[in-house]
């Protein structure tokens, strides 16, 4: 009896909260909020609340074309699901409504960072298997961009881990809940993280991999119907997961609140991150790929290094 109960709880956690269903709803809502904010900043009405759902259902019900020239037809079909499962697994390491995550082990910060880079690799392979000139150019840009933003992103994620003295996301969130003033030590790193997030989610100003005016649909040019719907869903879910990770690592997670209040706080902080992202998106134009790499390596990496030094000094004084 106990075993069945445990199994049911685990199934609930994986499929409903904080697993697939919660992420699905949250991703669609986040997508809508982002588009609505973007529209309001352009002084227009914007899409209705059900817009992402309508887009998703429409794409699911459309015909799915596998191009004749695609290199790996099975790979072509599997990659969107691989991307989506990687980001869904990532949420299990991140505390959402309380101070505890579903799974936790020493070093899960690194595991989460790697799981978040799997979708990027999937997008690269998506462009590669499509074997269309536009997707090939997009795939190269995905990879080039990946090497630019990933380094400062990982560097700034290390900062809070050093201050908290632990590589567990749970412990980091708990440490900042106990010492909220220490959050200001990482303010520089948080800014860098927010900028690299735009690169990770391939949003303006770093939407070079699918620049519509230059390379049609970028890596996703050949994708249609159901598979394209799942790619879009994977990107939306990734936005939620990245925001949740930043919330836990930089903003102290639930700040000691449990249950429903903790969940409200989580939603509030994720909304703030989406708002900042939408402001960046509407205020900027797309940069060229070499401008982006120059910016990441010459500006963001030194700031991230500075942040690391600040973190080590703070740890020496406080810890």
């Amino acid at each position: 009896m106990e075993m069945i109960k445990e199994l049911l709880i685990q199934l609930f956690e994986i499929l409903i909260y904080p697993g697939l269903l919660f992420l699905f709803v949250a991703a669609l809502l986040a997508d809508w909020i982002d588009r609505k904010l973007y529209a309001r900043m352009q002084n227009r009405q914007g899409p209705p609340w059900y817009q992402p759902l309508a887009d998703f259902v429409k794409l699911i019900s459309k015909e799915t074309i596998i191009p004749k020239h695609a290199v790996g037809k099975h790979l072509f079909r599997v990659l969107p699901y691989l991307a989506i499962s990687a980001v869904v697994v990532c949420i299990f390491f991140i505390p959402i409504s309380g101070s505890l995550a579903l799974m936790s082990f020493q070093g899960d910060l690194i595991a989460a960072a790697y799981l978040l880079s799997i979708p990027t690799m999937c997008f690269f392979l998506i462009g590669w298997t499509s074997s269309s000139p536009y997707s090939a150019v997009g795939a190269m840009r995905v990879l080039t961009q990946f090497f630019a933003y990933e380094v400062p992103m990982i560097l700034v994620l290390i900062g809070p881990a050093i201050v908290a003295g632990s590589w567990r996301i749970e412990d980091i969130a708990y440490y900042y809940s106990a010492n909220p003033s220490m959050m200001f030590v990482n303010i520089l790193g948080f800014i860098v993280a927010l900028i690299t997030m735009q690169g990770k989610l391939e949003r303006v100003p770093f939407d070079i991999p699918h620049a519509e005016t230059e390379i049609v649909g970028g890596v996703f040019t050949e994708y249609s119907g159901k598979l394209y719907g799942f790619i879009k869903l994977a990107i939306s879910i990734e936005m939620i997961v990245v925001a949740a990770l930043f919330n836990a690592v930089f903003m102290g997670g639930s700040l000691g609140l449990e249950g429903f209040l903790g969940f409200l706080l989580f939603c509030f902080k994720v909304l703030i991150i989406i708002l900042i992202s939408a402001i960046i998106r509407s205020a900027m134009a797309r940069v060229r790929i070499e401008q982006m790499i120059n910016f990441c390596w010459r500006v963001l990496v030194p700031i991230a290094m500075l942040q690391l030094i600040i973190s080590i000094i703070a740890r020496a004084f406080h810890g």
Partner: protein, 149 residues
């Protein structure tokens, strides 16, 4: 009576038309009006209309201009690359029936000479409001279509 699955799919289709714009030999007048319709002033995202670059993503193909004999193959190819169900809007007098160019030696005629057209928007050039009205009418029309192409 349609099944619930079909009804949901039809609802989603009417709420989320992604368009692709193709110039089959236009004088650029209709193209400029199409681009104007996509600006924040007209806010087509209210109806879920989004422009997509790739024909694989789009639902509605907007054709501007009379189809020249050279562009015909390209137009058919773009049309064939789109995923079903797909719709075609012929925008402007030339795309609707050839317009002033209808008897030219290099011109095939309206867009319906090359591909099946679902909706004609007249005007030379049609205003952005006419385009938006056309797409919304097309979508409210496809609710009743039993077997969308």
């Amino acid at each position: 009576m349609k099944s619930i699955r079909e009804q949901v799919a039809a609802w989603a289709r009417t709420k989320s038309p992604w368009i692709i714009h193709f110039n089959s030999g236009s004088c650029n007048g209709c193209d400029i009006e199409t681009v104007a319709a996509l600006t924040p002033r007209f806010d087509v995202e209210r109806f879920g209309i989004v422009q997509h670059g790739s024909p694989r993503h789009a639902d509605v193909l907007i054709v501007t201009g009379a189809v020249s004999k050279q562009q015909k193959d390209r137009l058919v190819r773009i049309y064939n690359q789109m995923a079903n169900p797909k719709f075609v809007v012929a925008l402007g007098a030339c795309a609707a029936g050839g317009g002033v160019l209808q008897n030219c030696y290099g011109v095939l005629g309206g867009a319906d000479k090359a591909i099946p057209v679902d909706l004609y928007v007249p005007g030379c050039p049609p205003r952005p409001e006419a385009l938006i009205d056309g797409v919304v009418k097309l979508l409210s029309g496809i609710k009743g279509v039993e077997n969308a192409k």
